[in-house]
């Protein structure tokens, strides 16, 4: 599983990254967490508001810093 954090490298993006890692740890999952900061690549996912979260190239959340609990919910579904 590859999880992408899409965003231009703002503070919100790092918070989202931390929360994602917490969620993965508490679910006992391993995944590759990649930060995507390049506009062209962010746009290639169709994302307009950052930070956004994509699991295996499917965008699941835009423009929001999800909490660890919210990321867990997304990961489970």
């Amino acid at each position: 599983m590859i999880i992408k954090i899409l965003g231009s490298g703002c503070r919100k993006c790092s918070t989202l990254t931390e929360n994602t890692e917490k969620a993965l740890a508490s679910l006992g999952l391993t995944a590759e967490v990649v930060k995507v900061t390049d506009f062209a690549q962010i746009a290639a996912h169709g994302v307009m508001s950052t930070p956004a979260l994509a699991i295996d190239d499917k965008v699941v959340s835009v423009g929001k810093v999800l909490t660890a609990a919210e990321v867990e919910r997304v990961l489970k579904s």
């Binding site: 962010i42 746009a43 996912h45 307009m48």
Partner: protein
Amino acid sequence: MEVFKWLNDQLLRMDWLAWLVGRLVEDVFGLDMAGRSGASVHFFIYDVIKIFILLAVLIFSISWVQSHFPPERTRRILGGMQGFSGKLAGALLGTITPFCSCSSIPLFIGFTSSGLPLGVTFAFLISSPLVDLASVILLASIFNWTIAIAYVLVGLVLAVLGGMLIGKAKMERYVESFVMHSPVLDVPQDQLGMRDRFQFSCAQVSDIFRRVWLYVLIGVGIGAAIHNWIPVEWTESLLGQNHWWSVPLATLIGVPMYADIFGTLPIAEALVAKGVGLGTALAFMMAVTALSLPSLIMLKKVVKAPLLALFFGIITFGIVLIGYLFNAYAYLFV
């Protein structure tokens, strides 16, 4: 009218704060308000506190409005709009969307790839950093309501005209091809409750606060210095009203700089107090907030040189024109 004036003086201009800081400077610090040091210290403390209070209140309320217009919704509203009404809607929506030019690139890509006409997108891109509700109320607080409203109207006209010109120029081929081929993603919109909007607005306030506090301190610092230490003759000989070059010069100085409008206002305020024309000060402010090297470098990644040059040219020309207009008709506003 009396009531309105009192509310304006106390809530917007915060005369009570000016008085309080005056007491602090004279009685606690023992400085003379009529002297240079006293006046500088007063300007600095009063302006910093005033801007921070206004910033917190304004960003909170504007974020509340904004939470109703996420970019996805803005795009849907603008979709299918053409011609003048499309540009006007773009310019108007630009006033209630993000403060930061860093978020405008993903927006540009998202709008363009979904097939919005370039003119509409650029009307939005021009008005978004230039005119926002927070800056309007700050302008009203520092200058007065007539100036604030004139500023908004002129900013909107610039955005609509700029959008129409760019639309007419048929510049589509100068947009990088990946922009056109980006997928359009329609994530289902979350239903937001009062609680969510409240949290969103609080988060915005703390976020923007963290981003701009340094700019505000620097801006007010420069303002205080101009206000009390730089001789009037200097500012007048460089940027005085009677020189034809003052407006273009102020624009030229402002373009490469980037600061938030909150940091630029105190500088404009001090310049006006020092005999610089209102138009010149506004031109400087608009140049700093609307155009900057970092945002141009970012835009360069999504559009090619001719379109970038046209965008840059239209805004620079517009700013200079606005500067001259406000200088010529300043007597109507003050």
